[in-house]
């Protein structure tokens, strides 16, 4: 039984699942309370570290996912026949539920942050890839012809004409990817990768205050990233504002 080591490691997490948390005397008499403000005030600092851990999972996952998906999109923009198989392959990665994906990778990459980052990065591929390809395909031929007429090379057309015009679609994809990744990263607690999920799952399950605070932080984080990406889109596509005004 060489599997004992992994089992022990898994048990370590398993032990955390329903670990009673010290709720303190603040709300003990009223555990059925939906939200305990006294506890929230005293314990808000325990969400700092998990928030940082959450970002440490989400940001690398998005960056890796973006770089890979973007590269695949550029390659298949040149070699068109790659598009259907790549869409299908990323589609399969996107369909496998992340919880299943975490545990499928467990024997290969083990417990911890690396596995979480790999799974979440794989999850973002489909959304970013599909939107980047869509954005590039949507550039009108007349625009490309004009660029060619001005003497631009194939490479210049890609970087100076096609990609800038595809920015709205690319960023739309990134926004979906970032928001879903932030939400799904809460499940990283299942493979001991930390993050805000620890404050939902580790928490005493009869004490909802911690779950609500952690959930609110997750949603605020998603909202903040979404707003940042929207801002990036505005700054990188000044011509859209000009035509709209």
């Amino acid at each position: 039984m060489a599997s004992v080591a992994l089992l022990a490691a898994a048990g370590e997490v398993g032990g955390d699942f329903f670990k009673e948390r010290d709720v303190g005397s603040l709300c003990q008499a009223q555990t059925q309370h939906v939200f305990c403000f006294d506890w929230a005030k005293e314990n808000i600092d325990r969400f700092g570290q998990p928030t940082v851990q959450h970002l440490q999972i989400v940001i690398p996952a998005i960056l890796i996912g973006f770089v890979v998906a973007f590269a695949l999109a550029l390659i298949s923009h040149r070699i068109r026949w790659l598009q259907p198989p790549l869409l299908a392959a990323t589609g399969i990665l996107y369909t496998i539920p992340s919880i299943a994906f975490f545990f499928l990778l467990l024997p290969v990459t083990g417990l911890g942050r690396d596995t979480a980052i790999i799974v979440l990065a794989a999850y973002t591929l489909q959304i970013i890839y599909r939107n980047t390809v869509l954005g590039l395909n949507n550039v009108p031929d007349s625009v490309k012809d004009a660029a060619r007429g001005m003497g631009l090379t194939q490479r210049q057309i890609l970087w100076k004409v096609e990609l800038p015009l595809a920015i709205p679609e690319i960023i739309a994809g990134l926004r979906v990817a970032v928001v879903s990744t932030i939400a799904i990263a809460t499940l990283a607690v299942l493979i001991s990768a930390g993050g805000l999920g620890t404050q939902m799952y580790n928490a005493n399950l009869t004490f909802p205050t911690s779950i609500i605070i952690a959930g609110a932080i997750v949603m605020l984080m998603a909202l903040a990233f979404d707003a940042i990406l929207l801002l990036v889109q505005r700054l990188t596509t000044p011509w859209r504002r000009a035509t709209r005004a």
Partner: protein
């Protein structure tokens, strides 16, 4: 940390699915096996279908209607975006604490995860139908409800089905952690790892992944069947 070759782990998990294994944790008692796997798979499917049905009943008519009237764009799109930010773990943990355990409590809450993509896509699909087409239908005397059913919905099927597929996968994925709220599903193998052991953990993950791919595949097939032949020619 990993005391076993990855391949051996997967072989163990596959054996677990088909025949009961002696778990090293339960001390000789056999767990898993084909019957148990099928039982949990069917329960997983049951809660998924129930939740998806609730989400469809709520979101599809609303999305189609709003798209037809061209109203409530912010509601439909905003809900679609906000829905993605909901952490499933918090939803399941909260339902167990505040509402209660069991399928009658969990299925409606899982349905909440399916509403945003269905509503969003139904709205987008219908509102993108060419207005001239709708006017033509109105001109030949079709009623508003007939326009939605016979003109807008068929044209919008790819988008509408895309939303239903997203919803189905989101619900199926979250049903995996439903055992936390007292609903049996394939997630039992994963959550109760102190009963099913390492093989069960991996077997659960394999079965959930296969089930998701099977559902996605069937819905893709259904979408193809529902799309009218005229539209297929155009997109090909």
């Amino acid at each position: 940390m990993i005391g076993q070759l990855p391949l051996a782990s997967f072989v163990g998990a596959v054996e677990f699915i088909f025949s009961p294994q002696e778990s090293s944790v339960t001390g000789g008692k056999k767990v898993g096996g084909f019957d148990k796997s099928m039982e949990l798979l069917l329960k997983h499917l049951e809660v998924t279908i129930l939740a998806l049905a609730i989400a469809l009943v709520v979101a599809l008519p609303l999305g189609l209607y709003l798209g037809h009237r061209g109203k409530g764009e912010q509601l439909a799109i905003g809900l679609g975006n906000a829905g993605r930010a909901i952490p499933e773990l918090a939803v399941i943990a909260l339902v167990a604490v505040l509402i209660g355990v069991g399928i009658q409590n969990v299925a409606p809450v899982l349905a909440i995860l399916g509403v945003p993509p269905i509503l969003n896509n139904a709205f987008v699909g219908v509102s993108q139908v060419d207005r001239a087409t709708v006017d033509a239908a109105r001109g030949i005397g079709m009623s508003e409800s007939a326009i939605i059913r016979k003109v807008e919905l068929p044209i919008a099927i790819p988008t509408v089905m895309g939303g239903i597929r997203s919803a189905a996968i989101a619900i199926l994925a979250t049903a995996t952690i439903a055992p936390l709220a007292g609903v049996e599903s394939l997630g039992d193998f994963i959550i109760n790892r102190n009963v099913y052991g390492e093989n069960g953990l991996l077997a659960g993950a394999i079965l959930v992944a296969l089930l998701a791919l099977a559902i996605e595949g069937s819905l893709a097939l259904l979408q193809r069947r529902l799309t009218s032949d005229g539209l297929k020619v155009k997109t090909a």
